[in-house]
Amino acid sequence: MGDRIFIEFGNYLSGLLALAGAPLLLNQVILMIVKIVGALLFILLNLMFIIWLERRLAGWFQARVGPNRVGPKGLLQALADVGKLISKEIIIPGAVDKVIFLLAPVLIFVPSLVLFAVVPFGRGMIPVDLNLGIFFFFAIGSLSIVVFFMGGWASANKYSLIGSMRAVAQMVSYEIPMVLSVLGVVMITGSLKMSSVIASQTQVWNIFTQPVAFLIYFAASVAEVNRTPFDVVEGESEIVAGPMTEYGGMAFAMWYMAEYTNVILVSAFAVTLFLGGWLAPFGWTFLPSWVWFVLKLYLLIFLHMWVRWTYPRIRVDQLMSFGWKVLVPLSLANVFVTGFGMYVFRGIGW
């Protein structure tokens, strides 16, 4: 019964509005606003939890305890951090381009938030089921690079500039293998619609039919969200903090939170594309579909954190050659093999 709790709530709300005599358009607008607020709440709550989880897991991986003072088990740590950062002054150095400098941390959130519109949170719980969902993800996702460059350029700091130049180079070279790796999934599914991607995985998850594509996607997504081993954009031992070097207070917190939002986002897409989305494994439908989605999401987020707190950072030129010389050919080969396999299987009448 828990499976449909959010949908039932939506239907109930819309029924209530209809009963109150609201016109259909108003009804839909209000429903949309409720959906947006729901997605925002999901993001913010998860952000708080993920920031705590990252710091706690980092501690445990590193023979430390991690934050455990604020609230039970330190769970309110993120809240305390935000409280502290809000109360700080946003320092604007003399030489910066003020408008762009302040605009960048605001805009960095936009692509991430927009992309949550196409995330299927559970059975029938996708805010907007675009028939170009996957395409939408890549199109909007690559926009964030412009904002990175804005921040780095406007900071008038050489470290920031180097960082943002690296960001551009990295994103360009990692978008391509990412798209190509997803192409295999799209070929099998025959659709760019999120709901049909999930529907096609009822028999077998795509991670089993497309293991190479999953690995490529995971590597590229780690690079996409700038985390170790691909965190050359903000490699703290070389270029201090890359584009965020000059930011302080809440402006820095925005960059920081956008980074974690992106982690949720790429993991959510990996769940949808490869891990069967909200589908329950082995027919274990005793848990609601959205719980399965969140469980799988956190499995991938844990993987992201585990990798981050284990590996050192790769050098920027090695990163580029890994992207172009390993990942791109590999993903092309994957597309070829997938096509060939589909042709053969169709031939033998599967």
Binding site: Q62, K158, G235, S237, E238, T310, P312, R313, Q318
Partner: protein, 378 residues
């Protein structure tokens, strides 16, 4: 049709590019304290790296002139603060050589145990910070976790964790406490497993190897010409360890190997330190086995007044050859003290090593030189 070479030519001629200067430090996460490198960059490639030191200069050599010989001991702690026992050792041995003081057997063994414990503790910091510099933060915490156990032992002996002031002319200030021996034996059993863990997490990692192998290669001739020493020199394949080459104290009685590198790159310099720690464990185990009974302090005069003259003595410190030069005018205070600080001299190679490498490699090379700013600036 435009080929790649054409394109490059066109880029070089038509697009105006310029070099720029990047000031790295004195406040930068990877400069081990207050150290500054002025980098001239062409894109991300280093054209020139100019090291600027002196931000932590306290004038310890000058301060020593206003203090009695014994009072200088706490100041030697504060040069290479990660390996204070070794600094103590070099200083008191210079004085003993000057005055012809006999050191009892037990004191010599205690000194060796302490010196090697400190060498491990110092190398642990070096290995850990190097892991951070390559980007793997976790390795640092594992090293610190195990260094803590060594510091606890040193604290048990001397009462301080880092600035120990433990050695005296003629011996050591106090005998080993009773609870020390079982604990150090237990730790020596545990440490090799910890080193295996670092090898698994840091050394064996392919990304780490890609970052460090064949980066900042130092050939043996250059190393010798720049008077490099310690792990830095041995990584280039030059077999020169004072503990073997010119044994002091009782080092000639122990069976240990001097690890040597093949390529002289950052990876070898890093690896030297893990291998040396394994050898230090061997030395400590043998020293514990052969630890004789007897006094821990020899017959040294209460007021130390070395005869008029000068003396230079060097030992194998954690970072290389640590030499003390003392001039005495017959008074209880040194007329002049000079210290050959290995990190300072090894640092001279920085700009030579960095040229032509990428910005990220500067951090890798600087980390592999393993400087301690307290010692560089003294």
């Amino acid at each position: 049709m435009i080929t790649g070479t054409d394109l490059r030519d066109r880029l070089e001629h038509d697009i105006k590019t310029d070099r720029y200067v990047l000031n790295m430090g004195p406040q930068h996460p990877a400069t081990h304290g207050v150290f500054r490198v002025v980098l001239t960059l062409d894109g991300e490639v280093i054209v020139n790296a100019e090291a600027v030191c002196g931000y932590l200069h306290r004038g310890i050599e000058k301060l020593a002139e206003a203090r009695t010989y014994t009072q200088v001991i706490p100041y030697t702690d504060r040069m290479d603060y990660l390996a204070a026992m070794l600094n103590n050792l070099g200083y008191v041995q210079t004085l003993e050589k000057m005055m012809g003081v006999e050191v009892p057997e037990r004191a010599e063994y205690i000194r060796v145990i302490c010196a090697e414990l400190t060498r491990i503790a110092s190398h642990l910091i070096s290995v850990g910070t190097y892991s951070i510099e390559i980007g793997g933060i976790t390795g640092f915490f594992y090293c610190l976790r195990d260094r803590e156990k060594i510091l606890d032992l040193i604290e048990m002996i001397s009462g301080s964790r880092m600035t120990v002031s433990y050695m005296r002319v003629g011996g050591v200030s106090e005998d080993l406490p009773a609870e020390f021996l079982p604990q150090v034996k237990k730790l020596m059993k545990e440490l090799p497993a910890a080193f295996d863990e670092y090898d698994g997490l840091i050394t064996g990692n392919e990304i780490f190897q890609a970052r460090t192998k064949f980066v900042g290669v130092l050939n043996p001739e250059t190393a010798i010409n720049y008077s490099a020493s310690g792990p830095m020199l041995r990584a280039s394949g030059v077999n020169w360890d004072l503990r073997k080459a010119r044994p002091y104290s009782v080092y000639d009685r122990f069976d240990f190997e001097v690890p040597l590198g093949r390529n002289g790159d950052c990876f070898d310099r890093f690896r030297m330190r893990i291998l040396e720690m394994r050898q230090s464990v061997r030395i400590i185990e043998q020293a514990l086995e052969g630890l004789p009974e007897g006094p821990f302090m020899g017959k040294a005069p209460k007021v130390i007044k070395p005869p008029v003259g000068e003396m230079y003595h060097e030992i194998e410190g954690a970072r290389g050859i640590l030499g003390y030069y003392l001039v005495s005018d017959g008074s209880p205070k040194p007329y002049r003290m000079h210290v050959r600080r290995p990190s300072f001299i090894n640092l001279g190679l920085l700009s030579e090593l960095c040229r032509g490498w990428k910005l990220a490699d500067v951090v890798a090379i600087l980390g592999s030189v393993d400087i301690v700013l307290g010692e560089v600036d003294c």
